[in-house]
């Protein structure tokens, strides 16, 4: 449990994480959470912050793993810790809180570039979420059912009581056009 795993095992874990495998997630939590929590708590954070940061880091690594081009150049443990550390320091900075005063005796690797990319993606993610909130019902549920929950068109027609899948599809595209419009308006404002 103390992270005495091999690189092969790290790569297997990454692959399983990319497949959204709950067992892999659990293993990663068990092996890494306590060090990250210790770092955050010692640097003016709460337990909730630690869980928050850990989740965010998991999302970052998940996306990297999914991209296929990601190769671990260090232990997964080191990488995850570095990402969490960077995320937390950034958050402290944004809140103009105390300078970090504690470092654990833990190896770190530079992850600044990755996080910059992630921040940009995060901003887009929030725009999309925001746009989703604004299109209203039934559009929101309809689009979520198809694009997020990946339900099939006949399933959706049944669920939303459309007479057939084609009707549902027409409705879906109407909603999609609206969603895109709101999203891209915000997107342009952002730049």
């Amino acid at each position: 449990m103390t992270g005495l795993k091999t690189y092969d095992q790290d790569n297997d874990l990454l692959e399983a994480l990319a497949a959204n495998d709950a067992n892999a997630i659990e293993t990663i939590y068990r092996d890494n959470y306590s060090a990250i929590k210790a770092f955050i708590i010692k640097n003016n954070g709460y337990t909730d912050d630690a869980r928050d940061i850990f989740q965010e880091a998991m999302i970052i690594i998940f996306e990297k793993a999914k991209s296929g081009s990601f190769v671990l150049s260090c232990r997964l443990q080191t990488y995850l810790y570095s990402v969490c550390r960077r995320l937390w320091l950034k958050r402290l900075q944004n809140q103009h809180r105390f300078n970090p005063s504690f470092e654990l005796n833990h190896e770190i690797v530079p992850v600044e570039d990755e996080l910059e990319l992630h921040e940009q993606k995060e901003a887009e993610f929030r725009l999309l979420e925001n746009a989703m909130q604004r299109i209203g019902e039934p559009c929101k549920s309809l689009l979520e059912a198809f694009y997020i929950e990946k339900k099939s068109m006949p399933e959706i027609a049944d669920l939303f009581r459309y007479t057939n899948a084609d009707n549902a599809k027409t409705q879906k595209y109407k909603c999609l056009v609206r969603l895109k419009k709101i999203f891209f308006e915000q997107y342009k404002d952002k730049d």
């Binding site: 709950a22 010692k42 989740q55 504690f102």
Partner: protein, 367 residues
């Protein structure tokens, strides 16, 4: 309607659902019509955003699932410690009990000593002691009284309050208008407080702020004989001090001012308390409330307690806590205490530093 057809085509194309022939036509269309090509690119980007959202949401679903499983297992032992301040609060509560136990141990005569040691052995609590000297005995008091009388007879110095002090500690000025910093545990149980400067001038003071959590207290000299003091030589850093930084202190473990030096040994205090440092320095009861100063002449901390069972393990409250205290006083009492901004200790020899410093470090006595 045409737009829907296009969107549908794009989605089918992306998902690989297009028959070969249609695909060729579609690609041809893209090549020849830049407008359509741009729409395809735009929609592809949008679909990838949607897809990303879908993936992240399903990952989050699993993350939450794993978290709640681990939570039920008690893996996040942090659950009871909802907030950090709570932990520190509890820890300080704990320390307060120890302080009381230690105070009793110091004052009460031998007859109860066995009870105390039994208590501490069983509970193993008395590991740190506050550094207030509460062993001022009758003899010392008598001496002081004689000394006071002598002084009274020879000089027209401010009238010395006549009361028998039963503890002694240290405080230092943070604002020349008569505001001093010391420990909360120094002043908490005191009915009367006197502060005394190195020249032996004594002034009545009262605590205007006392915080058990940080163990900081701020005193205000109430005596009319007190004149505003200028030229406070030290400043207060806003950032954390560094490990191994050489430090020194001035305080009153005896009737006479005593100098001590050491180094910063850890960035957290007893049991990981993040509001204080661990320093290695030789201190004794009476040093409580003394400033911990680095070689740049910055007050990095305030001496508060030491570990009883270990040599030279002393805890000092981080001076950054002072900022919060001053904010609170400003808000609650509308008193604006200004910390000194000019540092005149920097770059001089230690002997000169102490000469400048000693006028601003006071003895606190009370009963």
């Amino acid at each position: 309607m045409e737009e829907n057809l296009l969107l549908d085509a794009i989605e089918r194309y992306r998902n690989g659902e297009m028959p070969e022939q249609e695909k060729i036509l579609f690609e041809e269309l893209r090549k020849n019509n830049s407008d359509i090509d741009q729409k395809v690119a735009e929609h592809s980007f949008f679909l990838s955003e949607l897809n990303r959202m879908s993936e992240i949401k399903s990952l989050k679903h699993n993350l939450d699932k794993v978290e709640s499983k681990l939570l039920n297992e008690g893996f996040f032992t942090g659950r009871p410690e909802k907030t950090k301040s709570k932990v520190i609060y509890l820890w300080n509560r704990y320390r307060r009990t120890i302080a009381v136990a230690a105070a009793i141990a110091g004052v009460v005569s031998l007859s109860t000593a066995t009870v105390i040691s039994k208590y501490t052995e069983n509970k193993k609590v008395a590991v740190i002691t506050p550094l207030v000297d509460n062993k001022l005995n009758q003899f010392e008091n008598k001496l002081n009284q004689i000394e006071h009388k002598l002084n009274d007879a020879t000089t027209s110095a401010p009238v010395k309050p006549k009361f028998e002090a039963n503890f002694r500690a240290t405080a230092f000025l943070v604002d020349g208008n008569g505001y001093l910093i010391t420990n909360a545990h120094v002043v908490d149980k005191a009915k009367n407080l006197i502060v005394e400067n190195i020249k032996g001038d004594q002034f009545y003071a009262k605590a205007i702020y006392s915080n058990d959590t940080t163990d900081l207290a701020i005193l205000k000299i109430t005596d009319t004989s007190f004149n505003k003091v200028t030229g406070l030589p030290y400043t207060f850093p806003k950032t954390s001090a560094e490990l191994a930084e050489p430090i020194f202190t001035l305080g009153y473990p005896r009737e006479e001012v005593v100098y001590g030096e050491g180094y910063l040994s850890a960035k957290s205090g007893y049991y990981g308390d993040t509001t204080s440092y661990q320093i290695s320095i030789s201190v004794n009861p009476g040093n409580s409330g003394g400033p911990v100063i680095n070689k740049e002449g910055e007050v990095i901390g305030i001496i508060s307690s030491r570990e009883t069972n270990a040599d030279g393990v002393v805890f000092a409250i981080k001076s950054t806590n002072i900022y919060a205290a001053l904010r609170e006083i400003r808000k609650e009492d509308n008193i604006n205490i200004k910390l000194p901004t000019v540092n005149s200790l920097k770059g001089t020899s230690r002997v000169k530093q102490i000469k400048k410093l000693e006028d601003f470090v006071y003895k606190v006595k009370g009963n």
